[in-house]
């Protein structure tokens, strides 16, 4: 099964780093980045189900203008499960706020949370998670 990454982060630098680290870990991994969670959500919901053959890990930041990570997850959970089942949401954030962390982990579609910055070890862990 093909695996790809979708990075949703307002910061260009963080998107750049995440892309580099993932590509350096395994050249075959596809990476797409979004600076705006709303556009990412539209892309996910408008991609025909037939094309959802590959699984995607969504690396989602929490604090973003326009649509933040919480709102994104909330809207994502309203999508049909034929779409949702193709994605795994992992939060990638610099937040230290315990309330934010427990709040976002309470969503059933959120798998786990990673502290920024992304490193090669964290990518390995995610790949292990998907293969299990």
């Amino acid at each position: 099964m093909e695996l790809s990454f979708m990075i949703i982060d307002e910061s260009e630098l963080d998107c750049f780093i995440a892309r580099k680290i993932i590509e350096n870990t395994d050249k075959s991994l596809k990476v797409i980045t979004f600076h705006n969670a709303k556009i990412a959500l539209t892309t996910i919901s408008e991609t025909p189900v037939d094309n959802h053959l590959a699984r995607s890990i969504i690396l989602l930041d929490l604090q973003m203008p326009i649509m933040d990570g919480f709102k994104f997850v909330e809207e994502f959970e309203k999508l049909p499960s034929t779409i949702k089942n193709n994605y795994i949401i992992i939060i990638l954030s610099a937040t230290m706020n315990a309330n934010d962390i427990s709040r976002v982990l309470a969503y059933s579609s959120v798998n786990s949370i990673l502290d920024k910055p992304l490193t090669r070890e964290k990518v390995y862990d995610m790949l292990m998670l998907v293969n299990l």
Partner: protein, 361 residues
């Protein structure tokens, strides 16, 4: 403090009311009520009544019962019970149920009443000061919470980005890619720097005192203009300025510059990149002791549903540019300091106009 203390006296005996008013009206502003509905009417119409004297023995409701009631509906005025000295039960009730400040025994002497008034006034002032301080503290706590929250996003966020970039630097061989990364790192650090400068502005606005001088708007513009000339040239944004100051204007230069700087930098920052005729127009008119500043851009505009939020701390309506969510909040704080007003008019994809009015001090 020159205004007379407002006092309400409630008694079912008209003679008592007249006597009370006659002996005290020169020094105090006395309202008298012959029954409870009338007393409630005064309390509702005069929220600045500082104390209520009430007789214990009245038909219908006792003084204690009345105090029990207004303790909830009108908690601010200080309650003082007038009662015959044999009436120990009512005094106990007055303290326990009516939560009275004092009681004055009947028949009262002017000295007793005046000393009760003076003490009650001190108590009232201390209480109101406490309420004001509590409000201020609550506001400070709320902002502190917002700060603590923003620390992870606005300080730790950019830092973790830089750290991540350093981690992968050794894996990058391509010079162009390295340059791209350095550019993004610089952008991230600039954002962090902007945040820290704004935080400094925020603090000086909250704590600093006003320094009033004569303001020459032409001079201020001469200082500000060069800051935007590079942006104006590189992004092809026309910068038109029109200053019309014929009279002396007095104010504090620091918050004034902060307002102009924040509004101008927003006007340049949030331009519509696809628009071939980009411009920022600023006009300053000083007339009748009032400075009216209009800053108009041809930018992306602000969505109607966001306009109400743009002056909130850490609010950001847009992801197009580096923003800390501090700028307009600081503008609002600076305007509060200068007793000024701000209005926003915005049309999506056409532009935004901020109109600021500041009185001369």
């Amino acid at each position: 403090m020159s205004e007379k203390i407002k006092i309400l006296y409630v008694d079912d005996e008209p003679d008592n009311l007249v006597g009370f008013k006659a002996s005290l009206r020169l020094d105090y502003h006395i309202f008298t009520a012959v029954n409870i509905p009338e007393a409630l009417g005064f309390l509702n119409n005069h929220p600045d009544i500082k104390m209520v004297f009430c007789d214990q023995r009245m038909p219908g409701k006792t003084g204690v019962e009345f105090f029990e009631e207004i303790r909830r509906s009108h908690p601010l005025p200080v309650r003082i019970l007038l009662t015959g000295y044999t009436d120990v039960e009512s005094i106990i009730d007055g303290i326990n149920k009516g939560n009275i400040f004092r009681y004055v025994k009947k028949p009262w002497t002017e000295g007793d009443v005046i000393s009760a008034i003076e003490e009650a006034n001190k108590f009232y002032m201390a209480n109101s000061m406490l309420l004001i301080k509590n409000d201020e503290l609550q506001k400070a706590y709320n902002e502190l919470n917002k700060f603590a929250y923003s620390v992870s996003h606005d300080i730790r966020g950019p830092l973790s980005g830089i750290l991540g970039a350093i981690n992968i630097a050794s894996d990058i061989d391509d010079v162009d890619e390295m340059k791209k990364m350095l550019f993004l790192m610089e952008k991230s650090l600039k954002k962090l720097d902007t945040y820290i400068i704004s935080m400094h502005d925020y603090y000086s606005l909250q704590r600093g005192e006003l320094k009033i001088t004569e303001i020459d708007f032409n001079k201020i513009i001469d200082e500000l203009k060069p800051l935007y000339s590079v942006n104006s040239k590189t992004n092809n944004v026309k910068f038109n300025i029109n200053v019309n100051q014929e009279q002396i204007f007095r104010g504090d230069e620091v918050p004034l510059k902060l307002i102009l700087n924040n509004l101008l930098s927003n006007a340049f920052k949030y331009q519509d990149k696809s628009n071939p005729n980009k411009s920022v127009d600023m006009s300053i008119e000083v007339q009748k002791n009032l400075a009216t500043i209009n800053i108009k851009d041809t930018g992306i505009g602000i969505l109607g549903s966001h306009i109400g939020d743009i002056f909130n701390l850490f609010y950001r309506a847009n992801s197009q540019e580096v923003g800390s969510g501090f700028g307009l909040y600081n503008v609002k704080s600076a305007l509060m300091k200068l007793n000024g007003q701000i209005e926003v008019n915005s049309v999506m994809h056409q532009g935004t106009t901020f109109k600021v009015t500041i009185p001369s001090i």
